[in-house]
Symmetry: C2
Subunit: 466 residues, 2 copies
């Protein structure tokens, strides 16, 4: 059993804040355990030496530890040692957090869900508190349907840097996530010419396709290969929805010549490109490819949200749109729900402005990169024939399996192990696209060999690489 | 100049919390000044005696006072006295809250907007903080499109008591306000029979009518008289949208026999009643009339939100619906935006569960009752011929003016004085309905004689009661 040193705690907790030391300690430890930065089974230092190392009162350490033992995040062992609990394979919906009545039946996580254990709970609570102090009375009335200016400004600054695209606050419309963005843009496009036809990638997110069809659009699938969407022979349509930075689900990046051809297609026919930038900021091996919007701001609406980067529970997203589209979108947003929550918008603006969002993104990127690396290393060692596709990015892996039975078995075995999984065939218009999309965000510790074994067995069953 | 005693501060601030005493003091004083509970011009006790009376350190009092002086909520006067600032006629958008960049162009408040100065900022921040501690990791994934169970349970309990209607958590759908509820229910009804016809009250909220038309519905206005919607000769339609507890804008209550006739109409034709309960909990002279839903839970969808009761900036509302409507509504909500923000839902659930919501409602009711009383007293004294309609409830007043010019002049004079106002003709389908709808939530202090004079002049100009 590894015994942690006080320095290990300093490393994961960062600088001691001037106030709320107990909450900082408790939330920091909980996050560190949930994210795997403190490894399962490791023993904490004594409360006396932890207190000395962290520069806090011993009682504060003891109180935080007691609370986390009560939550099951830490475990009390004989001879007064306290060890980090193993949360990796714990049934979802049971930890961490104290038990209480009224907990909903668990909803299965999607393959694109981030690890909720990484959500910066304390930073979010602080951001809401600060927003509550700073919002003007006049801002607590009905919202601006385009979004709170202070958030549009903060996001514009962030996206200019992070996505290398021209973005001004006046171009940004705040929405309740990409699903709403697509529903509203679908309404805008439904009146377009040729009436309501939109190109989608094949394969693509079933949710995206459903959202577009729900808006009354006619969806035209166009194949994706290892260089992204095929741009030879694009059909006539009012728009195309694309994932250039990290194709969903195949994980490829749209090649530079195809980007140019796609933009030319849009310019030729007065068409709109919807750039679904769902996880572009989670690239692990290099800076993400710049947004398509950089090539043609007047033709591209850039869609993003906090769903992969912070949490899909927040329902905050954005569209950076050309002026004509922007005005129609703001009108659709107003008709849909008048606008997004002001306190949440203000809190997100603070998180961006004070650097906590950038810190969270760095930390999330490092965590997912490490987990992905460990999983791919284990696959390379123990199941070298399993074909993993896509660049080093995002929250999911794709493994092709030519056999429909192997696909179904792999999906149900992964789900039974608590790992989100979807059949690749469910994302494709063509019948020969089969395999499994694995939600890898929380796969760590003992879950790694389980996932490796399931994928190995599926590949063997399908005769892949044998 | 009145000098406040330490006891006055204890009275408005309530019990000292175990922690965050500085924030409690600062936010409590700001709320008390903004709401008028501490009257403009009154002098605070010395920081020494305030500290002693409140049981806090003198430095804590001094720091809170300094900050509020900086915000303009308190004012420093010669000879070291600090007095309560007069916020009543301050231009909206400038106080309270420290100045900062990125403040949006001010949006005019609607006639139904509550006083944002009453919003319990500190309680909301605490509720979000507690929610952040208590939410399970599994609850930080994609939301349940029907709404967080813990909020649906809390709301069901609240509505059963407050609205005397049968409500179970499974009947409740959480939405982003009544506007979204109408947009989504409009989609559900657009497929109904007779196809997409819906009865609305005449006059009615222009926003409600716009929302229904936006969903593609054919709107059929039916007159309202002093006993509410006229139920003799209701036309054939798939549904009716009604405001039985407090008709908008006329302020009348739907009579018991008409409630029964309306329910019979709904039952006869398999029709749905949408009960827009927008401000029913703001009744000042008695308990509000029980919800129509109590008469026919299988025919009535009860719509409400926090917009009039807490703040329209939060975008939280609910529909209590019969099972078939509920399922279609949940499906429409999922297609629209997947569901509402989980942290906000959890925070609102906490606010209800720990009693802070009930305390806020009591305080808001008392404040608005007092302001309404002072305004009506002044009208009775100085402009007895101005005909004010409606029961003692809600956030607005209606004054009929038979003359279109008088209507327009009154609306622009009120708006110029910073008081929200709408022409009554804008709410009506019939051309002879004229007058002014006055947003009375923030009318107090020097604004009272201004409003009285504007309404007096308008009534004289229109020849009313002369």
């Amino acid at each position: 059993m590894r015994r942690l040193e006080p320095e290990d705690l300093v490393l994961v907790l960062g600088a001691r804040p001037p106030s709320d030391v107990g909450a900082w300690l408790r939330d920091g430890l909980r996050d560190a355990v949930a994210s795997g930065r403190l490894e399962a089974g490791a023993a904490l230092p004594s409360s006396r030496s932890a207190a000395a190392g962290l520069g806090v009162a011993r009682g504060t350490v003891a109180a935080a530890v007691d609370e986390l033992v009560g939550e099951g995040v830490l475990e009390s062992r004989p001879r007064s040692s306290v060890v980090v609990a193993d949360l990796a394979l714990r049934p979802r919906g049971t930890a961490p957090g104290p038990a209480r009545p009224g907990v909903a039946t668990e909803r299965p996580a999607s393959v694109g869900s981030p690890d909720p254990g990484l959500f910066p709970r304390a930073a979010w609570a602080r951001a809401v508190r600060d927003a509550m102090r700073e919002l003007l009375d006049a801002e607590l009335g009905y919202p601006d349907p385009q979004g709170l200016l202070v958030l549009r400004e903060a996001l514009a600054g962030h996206l200019r840097t992070a996505r290398a695209a021209p973005v001004e606050a006046e171009d940004v419309v705040i929405v309740s996530g990409v699903a709403q963005a697509l529903a509203l843009l679908g309404q805008v496009l439904a009146g377009g010419d040729p009436a309501g036809r939109v190109v989608v990638e094949d394969p693509a997110s079933p949710g995206v396709v459903e959202q577009l069809r729900g808006a009354g659009l006619d969806v035209v699938p166009v194949p994706v290969d290892e260089r992204g969407l095929r741009t030879d022979g694009l059909p006539d349509a009012a728009a195309a929805v694309v994932t250039p930075a990290h194709q969903f689900p195949l994980g490829v990046v749209l090649a530079p010549d195809r980007r140019r051809e796609l933009v030319a297609w849009a310019r030729d026919g007065d068409r709109l490109l919807l750039e679904d930038d769902y996880d572009a900021e989670l690239r692990y091996d290099r800076q993400p490819v710049g947004a398509l919007r950089g090539l043609a701001p007047e033709r591209v609406a850039l869609l993003g949200s906090v769903s992969k980067l912070l949490s899909p529970a927040l329902r905050l997203g954005w569209v950076v749109a050309p002026p004509g589209v922007r005005d129609a979108l703001v009108d659709a947003k107003r008709r849909a729900d008048l606008g997004c929550s002001v306190p949440e918008q203000a809190a997100f603006a603070r998180l961006i402005a004070d650097g906590a969002y950038a810190r969270h993104l760095r930390r999330a990127r490092l965590t997912y990169q490490r987990r992905r690396g460990l999983l791919l290393d284990a696959l390379a060692r123990d199941a070298p024939h399993v074909p993993v596709e896509g660049v080093a990015a995002g929250l999911h892996l794709v493994v092709r399996l030519p056999d429909g039975d192997a696909e179904a078995r792999a999906v149900s075995a992964l789900r039974a192990a608590g790992v989100p999984a979807e059949p690749l065939s469910g994302t494709a218009a063509r019948g020969d696209t089969r395999g499994v999309v694995v939600g890898a965000a929380r796969v760590q510790g003992p879950a790694v060999p389980r996932v490796v074994e399931i994928l190995r067995a599926a590949a063997v069953g399908a005769g892949v690489g044998v």
